[in-house]
């Protein structure tokens, strides 16, 4: 898993137009690997995703696709054939059905007039099947639940048929069972499709349970990157969140993380 070249790589990228600021970020994604970025609110996680997808340009450094191709030299359409992203708040058109929405993922592959072919429809149906959304094909996008909406956004990204998949807080606003279900799904698809998947999330334990690699961020910088067991240590987490944690090892290199919450005695005495 560790050998082979990066399919998407950030080299020393920095951005400080808006907050949060990110500085000197370097890491790479490999096919078949599920990577998670962990960090507190406002540490620049979403900014990194936007930099990786070329939505914003880095002020310094560069993102490379497929080894040596700089992202800044690629057109949007070309980027969208390499990188799919599930945004945090995807828009919905109330007139659309589930199938029509997911078919938008074919957009970067369409010809000038923008009509989908039978092949586009077949690939979209495949993506909807992977995400178990085929039951709802003809439902309006406004009629499905929050969990289904996240799976639909994932299906649209999968319909793009890209080797790289970026996910921004996909489990936000979902019940715990849907969170687990979605992460399991992403993990499985990453393996089956040999994708380079990067997910950004607040849910340390979800990432600890499903990811292969973890990137720890704090204040716009990478603190540590490595396997789950190496990254999610008491020292690292304390540095990031300023809390004490108890770490429990699970099967494989998986870990479970629990903050140690102290009694509020200090309030009474001071």
């Amino acid at each position: 898993m560790s050998g082979g070249r990066f399919i998407l790589e950030a080299r020393g990228i920095a951005f400080d137009y808006h907050k949060p600021i990110v500085r000197d970020i370097s890491f790479g994604l490999r096919p078949g690997t599920f990577t998670g970025i962990v960090g507190p609110n406002g540490c620049g996680k979403t900014t990194i995703l936007r930099l990786l997808d070329g939505i914003v340009r880095p002020l310094a450094g560069e993102v490379f696709v497929d080894g040596e191709r700089p992202l800044s030299g690629m057109r949007r359409k070309e980027i969208a054939r390499h990188i799919a992203m599930v945004p945090q708040n995807g828009g919905l058109d109330p007139y659309q059905t589930v199938l029509q929405f997911a078919m938008q993922g074919r957009a970067p592959h369409l010809s000038l007039l923008g009509f989908e072919t039978g092949k586009d429809e077949a690939l979209t149906l495949e993506a909807l099947e992977m995400t178990q959304m085929t039951r709802h094909l003809r439902a309006r996008v406004t009629e499905i639940s929050g969990g289904e909406k996240q799976r639909l956004l994932l299906a649209r990204a999968l319909a793009q048929r890209t080797p790289i998949l970026l996910l921004d807080e996909v489990t936000a606003n979902l019940d715990i069972n849907y969170q687990v279900e979605l992460m399991r799904l992403v993990q499985r698809i990453t393996r089956e499709q040999n994708l380079a998947t990067l997910v950004v999330s607040h849910e340390i334990n979800l990432l600890g349970a499903f990811c292969d690699r973890i990137i720890l961020m704090t204040k716009g910088r990478v603190l540590y990157q490595g396997s789950v067991g190496e990254a999610l240590t008491r020292e690292h987490l304390q540095q990031i969140f300023g809390l004490d944690f108890s770490i429990r090892s699970l099967t494989g290199s998986r870990v479970e993380v629990l903050p140690v919450i102290e009694e509020e005695t200090s309030y009474a005495t001071s």
Binding site: R76, P87, A107, L113
Partner: protein
């Protein structure tokens, strides 16, 4: 019926074209001098075979009614298509060239051009070059779009908030229309009725040579808009989504803004700012054919022609022999719809 095909669009468009032809026949028939359908069809057949029947109705049909019917169709189609584009672009169902102030800006351009080119009364408004007036209208429209954008953004880099854009548009539209009234009344107090009518939107004035570049502009513009229709769909989802899906958002937005302003300016230079066509027709289209711009742009284009044609027929016959400006009829239909949409939008939030 999930995947949109060119065949379906062609079929729906052809059906709508059929309705348009029926509306044209109906409108040719109705007027201060009624021309029976059989007579008018006979006259058309004569004309096509190069025979002149000498019928006095021939002049009414070919010199008065037919040009007006075609002009109404052109103006309506153009404003409706521009409205569809603006609504997608701003992701706001209340956007249209009139509400955004684009139409009023185009009228200001027209009026200024006419003053510079030599004011020769309202009927002969215009000047030497056939494309001068539409060009001036476009510049007025483009200037207004820029001003609306700047006002709405309040000095920030972008004006993402479409509510602010609309508000800025409404404010600028009323400001510019005061300038229009001021300019027009100060240079020519004799033709107040003509001024009044044109400012509401009027199709009764005879057309001049500028109709040719205007027609060419409208058709070329709508074809170009069509090339952006799928990108507009995606921008309608949200700009970030569109970027993710491979749309050069900034470039598409700029292009569509310019094209929609150009189309609006072109027709407003002839008809004056007609309200609400660009608002109502896209909504009707969406209710009938769904929100996909690939089917919406061609169908709304034809639908706008039908709607405006019928509205103008109503305007010139309701108080016959007196005529109302067509803008009165479209506003009578449009304002209640606007209020309804505003109300519904407020409730959704």
């Amino acid at each position: 019926m999930n995947r949109l095909s060119g065949t379906r669009i062609a079929m729906v468009s052809l059906a709508l074209l059929g309705v348009w032809v029926l509306a044209v026949i109906l409108s040719l028939n109705i007027g201060s001098v009624p021309i029976p359908v059989r007579t008018s069809l006979g006259l058309v057949a004569d004309r096509l075979s190069g025979v002149s029947s000498g019928d006095p109705l021939e002049a009414v049909l070919f010199s008065v009614r037919l040009p007006r019917v075609l002009l109404g169709s052109l103006v309506g189609a153009a404003l409706a298509a521009a409205g569809t584009a603006f609504q997608s672009l701003l992701r706001n169902p209340l956007a249209d060239p009139y509400v955004l102030g684009v139409s009023t800006g185009a009228s200001l351009g027209t009026i200024l051009y006419s003053i510079v080119a030599g004011w020769a009364g309202f009927a002969a408004m215009g000047g030497g070059l056939a494309f001068g007036r539409p060009l001036a209208a476009f510049l007025g429209a483009a200037f207004t779009v820029g001003a609306v954008y700047l006002t709405a953004s309040g000095g920030r880099r972008t004006a993402d908030n479409s509510q602010r854009l609309l508000l800025a548009g409404i404010v600028l539209a009323s400001f510019l229309s005061s300038i229009n009234v001021f300019l027009l009344t100060s240079i020519n107090q004799a033709d107040l009725r003509g001024i009044f009518y044109w400012l509401i939107g009027d199709l009764s004035r005879p057309v001049d040579a500028s109709i040719y570049p205007v027609t060419a502009l409208v058709f070329a513009g709508v074809c170009l808009l069509y090339l952006f229709s799928h990108s507009l769909n995606l921008i309608g989802m949200g700009e970030e989504d569109a970027l993710i899906l491979g749309v050069e958002v900034r470039r598409v937005k700029t292009a569509v803004y310019i094209i929609a302003s150009l189309i609006t300016g072109a027709v407003v230079s002839i008809s004056g700012p007609i309200a609400y066509i660009g608002l109502i027709c896209p909504h009707m289209g969406r209710m009938l054919f769904g929100g996909d711009n690939r089917i919406l742009i061609p169908t709304v284009f034809i639908f706008g022609a039908i709607f405006t044609l019928l509205a103008d027929t109503l305007a010139r016959t309701m108080l016959s022999p007196a005529e109302l400006p067509v803008g009165i009829v479209t506003a009578l239909c449009g304002a209640p719809l606007f209020i309804y949409l505003l109300h519904r939008r407020g409730r959704d939030k």
